[in-house]
Subunit: 459 residues, 2 copies
């Protein structure tokens, strides 16, 4: 009576594409652009390259839209090209390191949506620095098998040093999506003042030339923190380790911030002999070990080497470039963590000048340098800002006040794979409030100074 | 420099379990209960069985919680048991028919979370009506391969006619999750007054005995509507059809509500000869065909046979049972559709009696009879209710006013796989407003009557 079947990951996201942000031609076009641009920025920044990103968007007939994104990133190895574009849950960002990409899904959604609306394949050209050649592929997805279909392929001598060009023709509502897309690119220019971003449309060309040649130090790949351990993780680590390894060495080698002293103290507290060989552990021992790892209060805090905050100087430059305020300040908080995941909150506050007047602070949200434009009502940043009484900081609405919030983490608590709203993790909420209030206090000092000057002038 | 890898679906949701609602021990325990209860209700209602559902929740030491859900549903075929509990993206609800389950993911998340927090396997006993035997399995998930691991298995002569018992031990915060879970079950009793639900805790037992023996007619499996067609769907349908089939017959056999006349009219309008054999179609023909299918305005509206609204009588019974108001009214709207997906909006309004006073209407949201308790701020129902000026309906806040909204569809526009908030689809929003205002008008008539009676009494 019930018909049982399984779906491949591609089938699942084909059937449920609205969950990934591809709910209608307006939203899908926006999501397509951002998936491509986020990949381009990951391919440059994370590897110490000053980003040069060219975006072409050209509406065609029948609600089709031509989209082209070119970057000067590290390029993609030719053997990987078909799979990274043709297989859901495949990518290079499954490591513990701050990147925009995290799911191994984004560009496949763009390929899928184009495929089911226009039937046109993705076209990609990519070359790596070390290679003499550039590789061109036309790719579609075999949805039932979650595998790429290579429609065409070419190898040529390279015509550019390194980078990737992605082209597709997808169904989109350019008229309605346009402002959101332009806003997305403008905000990307805000958070990444070292990036040059060009948007070429049918009738116009907008260029955000970089205002800084300084890149924030890229993040490094790190180890899991013992606070965030779970049974499956630890069992797998033990399975991959030499059976003769001691418990102490096992912890030191596999976890973040665990030195000899820390390992010994923890294991003794947890009731284990630090010299126990892994081979001697029973399943029950492992369960106790993991439970104790989660309970232990004396682990060192997670190292922030896996993170790459923008920093106060670049934040201010980006805000000045886009908002042109009369006053700007930025706060980068020290590293914190939730459940073993390190994170850093950064806030910039802009006041006056060209900042538009509004009844509540205008909020620019970012997570791992990704601009978040939808679902503000469900986002933790909006919640914190709405809970603040701004009058104590001398702000009287309507006011020309804008707040930029940026959360960096190896585990952004996104509410969905479409990456729009961030869940209310208490530690993150607390850090946001501290940072926003610090920026607000500085604003108050500035406004007080202005008041005094104004008083003096008047007499 | 970049390390490329793929994840199995189980690995993906293990790493990103917060996206499915398993973000912390409070939320995870709530989600575990609801995934099991929703499966139990699908296994009964959808098959014309008056549900008997027993839920046992017992906190153990170390934040472990024992969970057991028993139902009198149709049971699971023994060959399917390991896979439905051990493989992500596998289930029996991938058809066009209104069910609570839609993703083929829910119970696997519960199994996964228990596995990584307590190491304990899921235990399931199930028997079907036609079978002499009951089958017991202990199952875990091979996360890397997205396959079940059968830890134990037994076959016995059956001890009950039909149904399923699911047991697991998971990490959970029962103290903090308790009220939400009790609320969830109470609301389930509200929307399903024909169901008997028993909740047995350590120190208490709550029974919602059914107040009706009437089941709403179960939904039937239906066909796709041409309005919602896409290239991939139509290409696959053509691939599976006889090459000699005419375009006209193809549309009539594969799509909802397409009779001979409709097919002929559409194909002629779209520029096709209705007698064209499928084998004669080029890829370009198919692209034009699909585009025209989406554009055509004269398709018959989607048939609601795939839906199963609760109906006004049962809605009122459920509301009376739980809220005990002095006044209740219910509105079941006629079928509507968005993008080819049929849907029905139902609203109940309760006033006075035991309905608590509040500053805004208390909202009870349901989608395919699932109570939605989180993310109300991001939900379309809350948006509609907040946009209504209740004073025109004689409601002065604080007021004892409660609104129940129920959306049934073969495609609920959930914002995430955790099934909490519903996206703002314009057609759904419009239907909600019509239904709520209709109920509000009836309330106004009732309140006017009361006013007049009061006036008469006073003189
Ligand atoms: N422009 C690009 N330059 C270099 N590598 C790229 C580029 N675009 C995609 N890739 C590679 O393809 C992989 C898959 O991209 P995809 O967008 O699907 O997933 P992701 O970026 O890893 O995660 P997310 O789903 O969160 O975006 C990336 O991890 C990266 O290795
Ligand atoms: N109590 C039960 N009685 C009968 N069948 C069940 C029961 N629990 C689970 N199943 C079967 O197992 C399948 C998988 O359940 P699962 O919860 O993972 O997915 P789903 O219910 O189909 O969709 P969703 O992820 O939206 O819940 C179901 O489709 C159903 O066929
Ligand atoms: Mg990506
Ligand atoms: Mg389910």
């Amino acid at each position: 009576r019930e018909k049982f079947r399984g779906l491949s990951p591609a089938e699942f996201f084909y059937k449920n594409r609205e969950i990934a942000g591809f709910s209608n031609p307006v939203r899908a076009l926006y999501q397509t652009i951002r998936e491509l641009v986020e990949n381009a920025l990951d391919a440059t920044e994370t590897h110490g390259i000053l980003p040069e990103i060219k975006v072409n968007i050209k509406p065609l007939e029948n609600d089709h839209v031509f989209v082209r994104v070119e970057d000067n990133g590290i390029g993609i190895p030719p053997t990987e090209i078909p799979i990274v574009f043709g297989r859901v849950f495949y990518g290079s960002k499954y490591q513990l390191r701050q990147t925009r990409g995290v799911f191994g899904l984004g560009v496949k959604m763009a390929v899928l949506y184009a495929q089911i609306t226009t039937g046109k394949p993705l076209k990609v050209v990519s070359t790596q620095n070390k290679s003499k050649y550039e590789y061109e592929f036309e790719i579609q997805i075999d949805i039932a098998h979650n595998m790429p279909i290579i429609k065409n392929m070419a190898i040529r001598e390279k015509t550019f040093p390194h980078g990737t060009i992605v082209e597709l023709i997808t169904e989109g509502n350019w008229t309605l999506a346009r402002r959101k897309i332009e806003s997305y690119l403008e905000r990307t220019a805000m958070i990444a003042p070292y990036a040059t971003i060009v948007l070429e449309e049918l009738d116009s060309k907008k260029e955000y030339r970089r205002v800084s040649k300084v890149l924030p130090p890229p993040p490094e790949t790190g180890k899991y923190h013992p606070k965030g351990a779970d049974l499956e993780l630890v069992k797998n680590m033990i399975r991959r380790s030499k059976k003769s390894l001691t418990l102490m060495k096992f912890l030191m080698e596999n976890f973040d911030g665990v030195g000899k002293k820390t390992a010994e103290n923890f294991l003794t507290w947890a009731g284990f002999d630090p010299e126990t060989k892994l081979s001697k552990l029973t399943l029950q021992d492992i369960e106790i070990l993991v439970r104790k790892m989660k309970e232990y209060e004396k682990w060192r805090r997670p190292k922030p080497i896996t993170l790459s905050p923008v920093g106060e100087s670049l934040l201010k430059q980006g805000v000045k470039r886009i908002l042109n305020p009369s006053y700007v300040t930025a706060v980068t908080r020290p590293p914190s963590s939730f459940g073993g995941n390190p994170f850093i909150v950064e806030v910039a506050l802009a006041y006056g000048g060209n900042v538009p007047q509004s009844d509540t602070p205008t909020l620019y949200r970012f997570a791992n340098r990704i601009p978040l434009l939808y679902d503000e009502g469900a986002d933790v940043s909006r919640k914190v800002i709405s809970s603040i009484d701004w009058s104590i900081y001398k702000v009287k609405f309507p006011a020309p006040l804008a707040i930029v919030t940026h959360i960096c983490s190896t585990k952004i608590p996104f509410k969905g794979v479409g990456k729009e709203a961030i869940a209310e993790v208490p530690e993150v909420e607390k850090e946001l409030e501290i940072a926003i209030r610090e920026a607000a206090r500085r604003l108050r000092r500035h406004l007080s100074k202005l008041e005094k000057l104004y008083e003096v002038k008047r007499r």
